[in-house]
């Protein structure tokens, strides 16, 4: 209920850092699915990519509109004890939570109307329109009113509410896989007046469920033949297929090197130090300091597959070590950072709770727009550092003050 406040100067720094990072990640994705120069130059180890389950051979060589892979990114940031911002994670596939950002603002406007105005809190409500314009710019057919749809896994998905919210606020059709059909490498949706060609798909279905002919054959959420239509350039898919190779938690460690390599710039926002378990020295270091480390599985999200070294019992830690030794590629470790707290009004009193920050960035042909604000995720349990909503986290509005 109490908003989290970020000053204009702090925001400029964060914004510049995210912009730089996404530029590099986009170039990386284009590179990795085309020339793979970064592998040839030995900046990122070849076997790290080859062993990444999200490296998608099916999309090698596909040219996507404007060479844009990451259209929507939710970049997770934390602040340490000194107030410095660190990048915790890049979410480049189907980041969720933006509807909370928009709804939270509606709530704080109702609660603190004068304060919002006096503090010149920067607006966030333009997000759906910005996104809509980007979707519009990706249409492969030069028609005045292309068909844009949001593809949802359906009512049983935990983010279904957000899907309806976004479809409604952009005025686009919310479709399920069974509404779409591919014919002659073109995608159509089945309407009461027959088939209508679909130009742009904002999908909230994961890669592996998108097309049973290319990925999981048992998927009923996807559309058979979708990847063929995509390959032929008859439909744009947002975000691009195969982005998971860039937000893998082990690849994450190399993002600062990517920035250096593609942009020849020093990273504006640092990573959290990350130890790769495949490296023997780093692994030993982690094993000796397990109680100060958080161990994460590289291919899980939502706070699953995560062990906080300071909270876990010694049995759990020993078991974790065995798991790591059995499959080192699937784990990373990071030092536990005393992430910042903000005041929260809980049980009738003000209490400090740990938070992170997920701003939402939109990348279109005309550059990268980051809506000033984002989702501040709160670990509601006292002392907890885990903010994921699937682990009992909450959220609060984020006010970026005007200059």
């Amino acid at each position: 209920m109490i908003p989290r406040v970020i000053t204009a100067a702090e925001w400029q720094h964060v914004e510049a850092g995210i912009r730089q990072r996404l530029k590099a990640l986009n170039m990386f994705l284009h590179d990795i699915y085309h020339e793979q120069a970064i592998l040839k130059d030995g900046i990122v180890p070849r076997d790290l990519i080859a062993t990444c389950p999200h490296f998608t051979r099916e999309v090698m060589g596909i040219d996507v509109p404007h060479q844009l892979y990451v259209h929507i990114a939710g970049v997770d940031l934390i602040r340490d004890g000194n107030g410095g911002f660190f990048i915790l994670e890049d979410n480049l596939r189907t980041p969720s939570g933006v509807s909370y950002m928009l709804e939270n603002r509606e709530v704080t406007k109702r609660l603190f109307p004068e304060m919002v105005a006096e503090s010149k809190v920067q607006g966030v409500s333009q997000y759906p329109i910005l996104l809509y314009n980007i979707l519009l710019s990706l249409t492969p057919r030069p028609v005045s009113k292309p068909t844009i749809v949001l593809l949802t896994p359906g009512i049983y998905n935990s983010a279904y509410y957000e899907h309806t919210f976004l479809a409604r606020s952009m005025g686009i059709e919310l479709v399920e896989g069974r509404d779409l059909v591919v014919d002659n490498a073109k995608v159509y949706m089945k309407t009461i007046r027959g088939l209508r060609q679909v130009d742009v798909i904002y999908r909230r279905v994961d890669d592996e469920f998108l097309d049973p002919l290319e990925f999981r054959p048992d998927s009923v959420l996807g559309v058979p033949g979708l990847v063929t239509a995509y390959r032929k350039g008859n439909v744009a898919i947002v975000n691009a297929i195969g982005n998971g190779v860039a937000d893998d938690k082990a690849v994450y460690a190399y993002v600062p090197d990517m920035i250096q390599y593609y942009l020849n710039e020093a990273p504006i926002l640092p990573n959290v130090p990350t130890y790769r378990m495949e490296n023997v020295d780093e692994r030993e270091l982690v094993f000796q300091n397990m109680e100060r480390m958080v161990v994460k599985k590289t291919n899980e999200s939502g706070g699953y597959g995560m062990i906080m070294g300071d909270k876990a019992t010694s049995e759990v830690l020993e078991a974790a070590k065995l798991d790591i030794l059995a499959d080192p590629r699937s784990y990373i470790a990071q030092p536990i950072i005393p992430i910042s707290t903000v005041p929260c009004y809980l049980d009738g009193q003000l209490q400090a709770r740990h938070v992170d920050l997920r701003p939402y960035a939109l990348c279109g042909p005309n550059g990268i727009e980051i809506v000033p604000g984002g989702l501040t995720r709160v670990a509601l349990r006292e002392g907890s550092l885990v903010v994921n909503s699937s682990q009992g986290g909450g959220s609060k509005d984020t006010w970026v003050l005007g200059a």
Partner: protein
């Protein structure tokens, strides 16, 4: 509009109409079952035969137990046609297309669903609150239909909802007539008087109109006239099929003739079958045959409708 959305709107509306009809019928029959003056126990067999899929033995087990019937027909999740199952289906349809309903319409059906899910019917029966429960549920239906009328845009979706409603209503009215005439062996010249028909007329909210319109003559002819042929009565077969015809007609400019014309012909046949009937023609061909023609025509039309508009796999 997506075929799936049209399909969901059609069924959402159809299920609520079905729930409404069932509830009204249950309430009236329950109230009647309390009249013990005739000396015989009220028998639920006709109701159970028409509105459930129970077999003879199962029907015998509860046919004289009003509370057991209510429990089964309102709350039993194993009964395909219980209010609980119908409302859950209606809400499932709504849930998959929330962005095509107004917020108020979604909230109304969602609240209805939660009421039905959380309702302890057994407890209500123990506390003798049967009529309250039925009335509350009827209000929920009325609330939903009212919210639709006030808030929903009059686009294709609206027409699909109305078609669902009127198809359901046509079938339901035919079923209710069947229910009451079955007891009289479909004899249209039977001497049954107003009290016998009161039950049926109340079930379709047509009792007052009946008293105002028909004073003399053979009551069972009057009843058929009201429920089948009376254009002023919103649950009559003629009214429902006429409205259905108007709703379908709104699609005429949009759908290729090759697809539209089979639907138009099927519905036209049904409508004129009713429109150009009168008591003597119905009595000549026999009520059961007449009703079964109506049901078959409606079913045929409904199948064509879903082939043209809803098929999406």
């Amino acid at each position: 509009m997506l075929s799936r959305i049209a399909d969901s709107l059609f069924w959402l509306s159809r299920y609520v109409e079905r729930a409404d009809g069932l509830l009204r019928m249950l309430r009236v029959n329950f109230i009647t079952s309390l009249d013990k003056t005739s000396g015989t126990d009220f028998n639920w067999r006709p109701v159970l035969t028409i509105f459930t899929t129970l077999n003879n033995e199962e029907i015998d087990r509860i046919a004289n137990d009003a509370n057991a019937v209510l429990q089964f027909m309102i709350a039993d999740p194993k009964n395909e046609n219980s209010i609980r199952v119908i409302v859950t289906r209606a809400r499932e349809n709504a849930r998959g297309m929330q962005d095509h309903l107004t917020k108020e319409a979604w909230e109304s059906i969602n609240e209805f669903y939660h009421l039905v899910q959380s309702m302890d019917v057994a407890q209500a029966i123990r506390e003798d609150r049967q009529i309250t429960v039925l009335s509350d549920l009827i209000h929920r239906c009325a609330h939903f239909i009212g919210v639709l009328t006030v808030t929903m845009p009059r686009n294709h979706g609206w027409h699909f909802m109305n078609m669902g409603k009127y198809i359901e209503r046509t079938v339901q009215t035919a079923d209710l007539l069947d229910l009451k005439f079955r007891d009289l062996s479909y004899d249209l010249n039977n001497p049954a008087d107003v009290p016998y028909w009161r039950n049926l007329l109340l079930s379709v909210a047509g009792y007052e109109l009946y008293l105002k319109t028909y004073r003399t003559g053979v009551q069972s002819h009057n009843v058929i006239d009201l429920l089948v042929l009376n254009m002023q009565f919103p649950r009559s077969v003629l009214y429902s099929t006429s409205r259905l015809y108007d709703e379908l007609d709104t699609f005429k400019p949009e759908i290729p003739a090759a697809q539209f014309s089979p639907m138009e012909k099927a519905l036209g046949r049904l409508k004129s079958r009713v429109e150009f009937s009168d008591i003597s023609s119905i009595s000549t061909m026999g009520l059961p045959a007449f009703l079964s023609d109506i049901r078959n025509d409606t079913l045929r039309f409904s199948n064509l409708l879903s082939q043209v508009f809803f098929a999406y796999v």
